[in-house]
Amino acid sequence: MAASLSTDIILPNPPPDLLLPKHAEFLSRYGTSKEDYEYCMTEFLRMSGMYWGLTALSLMDKLDSVPPSDVIAFIQDCFDETTGGFSPAKDHDPHVLYTLSAVQIIAMYDEFKAVDCSKIVSFIQSLQQADGSFFGDQYGEVDIRFSFCAVATLSLLKKLDAINARKAADFILSCQNFDGGFGSKPGSESHAGLIYCAVGTLSILKEVDRINSDLLGWWLCERQLKSGGFNGRPEKLPDVCYSWWVLASLTILGRQDWIDQKALIKFILSCQDTSTGGFADRPGDVVDPFHTLFGLGALSLLGYQDEKLLKLKKINPVFCMSQDIIDKLEIEVQILPGGGAS
């Protein structure tokens, strides 16, 4: 019998401790040299990059290492008065992906007066289609990620009634597959990142009870490999960002305990770069703010504490933002109780 292809990795043993000060340093240094190669080449997603970095810093309670006025000036600079959307950087086009990131940052700093929020609402409204789906921008691409961005943005702005929420949920359910998961569009294969978008959208819309949580929960816990890391689809390699997509989805479904939490923690810790700080997708790879946020986010969901009892702030599994911000805005998402009741 043919052996399965090797789709897992071997971890260094033992994993390093959680290096919070190094991560904080890595994030606050990131982008200080504007001519830096990585920084320039990721300009097209700058707004999301800001959100990843700032959220990761806020989980470590180090948000004050970045001057708020710089952040807000940048946000204002990226606001497109005509459409009401945010672009990733100046001179780029607005898109729903960066609109959510911008509104998340606005919420973090409680700066809802920084731009005309009613225009953002109109922008999101203009993207919804007859089948409930959302365009990403005026060029017409449809993706379940855009549904999540649209619904999460409106929820943060307390304007969910501006769209047809019922149809938005119906579209999400039309992307469901035989394995209980969700793909990017109706007919697309299940993928943990897109499952997070689907489950997150339904959680905001309080419609999570429309899905078969046992079936989806089982598929999600089958993402955990021997190494403890999660992959995003069957027979793929593990990656730190899936720690977040899978674990957050399981948390919303009330089934966070269906995985081996200790093994996951070990995997995540092994993805740190012990000299520069930051997390990579896998041990030994190049680190970036994206994987740094999702590594820290997953550790926060698990309530991880290091030996010095240092703790990350609690994260909200739907918005991927510090829970105290969501509480302050009095936003309630649906988290299933699990344990057979749902």
Binding site: N177, G183, E235, G254, G338, G340, A341
Partner: protein, 522 residues
């Protein structure tokens, strides 16, 4: 950043690389400046295509540049349609293919192709299909490629469902471990007219024997068998009206019973579900005081989800009596099968168990055999099912809590099937190692419920015990939190006594004085 390894460079290499990078940054910034300048002047011309092309070739994720290309292309289309169709579009497709070569997961490059197809009314769809098939031979798990293929198929009638099934079969034959292709089959089968089941099962069997560790074919297998079962339509199963409350219980979760398909009305009634979810099997309401006439309550019912239990639209319901009864099965899996389907399930079981004997340490045959046994005869095969669960727990410790919940679900099912255990108003669920209480709605009419000495991890299920007078949850692992207090104090109106010792942190002080005064807490 995905899949880029850290490399240690010597100082000379580092310096060299730094120089290259500086040059790249300068080139990028120079090109971007030029592009923005041209765009602001409305210069959407072939030079614009060339400059944006240079930048995108190095980094195809810059969506703004794809937008600028689209704007430019539209302008060119307006100017000269035939040149656009014959020269510009082929070049553009080639360019996107070039970008995909270095970055096969570029959303922008893939969407650009979709956009070009729409823009040309799918004039080149056949060519594109061939191109896409070729692409999928290089990477048969690239979901962008699969999505693009479906997009093309949805917009032409070149390929029949039968042919598409064959495409998937070819892919699976070259690589059984191809979840994308199995997924595709799940989407095609509902469109086929012929009976495919036998052939599908054979393909699965081949895949499973070739690589029994690969979950793809196993997941597909269980889905395929379960999808043959008819889904139960929602139906009201049980209705009870007491002086205190109205309880309506359905076979599947339904929205609030005050809409067209399900309407149960007593003037003044306000329905709620135990945990405030939009869909629930159980719906409860306070009985409006003036609705009670002697020992009857006048109820009007309507809608297609009600009709099995009640024939007339309006009737007097006797107080406290339980109207209707629950199904003897729980979901489609355990519902009695036709003889033909039963035979087929047993045939499947035979080869799965054979494979299990060959490969006793692999979990998928075990999981599948267990599920098949549950589908064939859940009661008769209780010992075997339990044994398989034990094995799973042993060889797959990462998912031990999943199996604990699954076991808890089965245990409750076995109890519910044993009529003698649940027909009375007293039910004993104690000492069963339950981590969860599945089907809590089935205990909505019991007055005494004993869940003591289990491993219950939360209180949510308890919210369905609306008739319960005496609840024993002692010696569990229920965390003391708001949910617990909310459930016990706010959702169980009939509660007179609660036994709760042996749950850490549990005490009278958690509750309001009013609750502590009226309910005995031991």
């Amino acid at each position: 950043m995905h899949g880029r390894q850290r490399v240690e460079l010597s100082p000379e290499e580092e310096a060299k690389k730094q120089k290259e990078r500086e040059a790249k940054v300068a080139a990028y910034q120079f090109a971007m400046k030029k592009i923005i300048e041209k765009r602001s002047k409305g210069e959407l011309d072939s030079q614009m295509l060339s400059i944006t092309g240079q930048v995108l070739a190095a980094n195809p994720d810059i969506s703004t540049l794809w937008n600028i290309r689209k704007d430019t292309l539209e302008k060119l289309k307006k100017a000269d349609l035939s040149d656009f169709m014959d020269t510009v579009v082929p070049k553009e497709l080639e360019f996107s293919a070039f970008c995909l070569k270095s970055n096969p997961k570029s959303y922008g490059a893939w969407y650009h192709r979709c956009w070009l197809m729409k823009e040309t009314e799918f004039a080149r769809v056949e060519e594109e299909l061939n191109h896409c098939s070729k692409f999928l031979t290089y990477d048969d798990r690239n979901f962008h490629g699969w999505d693009y293929r479906r997009f093309l198929l949805d917009n032409c009638s070149l390929v029949t469902f039968e042919e598409e099934l064959q495409f998937s079969t070819d892919k699976i034959s070259s690589n059984f471990s191809n979840f994308s292709s199995w997924h595709l089959r799940s989407k095609i089968l509902p469109h086929l007219s012929k009976d495919y089941l036998e052939e599908e099962l054979e393909l699965i069997r081949n895949a499973a024997f070739t690589d029994p560790k690969d979950q793809s074919s196993w997941l597909y297998h269980l889905w395929l068998l379960k999808s043959q079962l008819k889904k139960d339509a929602p139906q009201l199963r049980v209705l009870q009206v007491s002086k205190v409350h109205v309880i309506a219980c359905f076979n599947v979760p339904v929205p609030m019973p005050s809409m067209d398909d399900i309407r149960i009305e007593i003037p003044g009634i306000i329905w709620k579900s135990p945990l405030n979810s939009g869909r629930s099997k159980l719906w409860i309401a306070n009985t409006p005081a003036d609705a009670i006439k002697d020992s009857d309550v006048q109820v009007s019912v309507s809608g297609k989800y009600i009709k099995e239990l009640f024939s007339s639209d309006s009737m007097g319901i006797e107080l406290d009596k339980l109207h209707g009864k629950f199904d003897s099965y729980f979901d489609e899996d355990t519902k009695p099968k036709t003889p033909a389907f039963d035979k087929l399930l047993r045939e499947e079981l035979a080869w799965v168990e054979e494979l299990h004997e060959l490969e006793p340490e692999i979990k998928w045959p075990i999981y599948t055999a267990m599920t098949l046994l549950r589908m064939i005869n859940f009661v008769e095969f209780k010992p075997q099912i339990t044994e398989y669960l034990d094995k799973l727990q042993k060889i797959d410790p990462k998912r031990t809590n999943y199996y604990n919940d699954l076991r808890s679900k089965f245990v409750i099912e076995w109890i519910l099937l044993d009529k003698a255990k649940v027909d009375e108003e007293i039910v004993d669920l104690s000492g069963l190692e339950l981590t969860s209480i599945y089907y809590p709605e089935r205990f909505c009419y019991h007055r005494v419920i004993d869940c003591s000495r289990n491993k219950l991890k939360n209180a949510a299920s308890l919210a369905s015990f609306v008739n319960c007078h005496m609840l024993d949850i002692s010696n569990n692992q229920i965390p003391v939190n708001l949910t617990l207090v909310k459930v016990l104090q706010g959702l169980l109106p009939n509660l007179k006594c609660i036994k709760s010792s042996g749950n850490q942190g549990f005490g009278v002080s958690m509750f309001s004085k009013e609750f502590a005064d009226s309910v005995k807490i031991v």
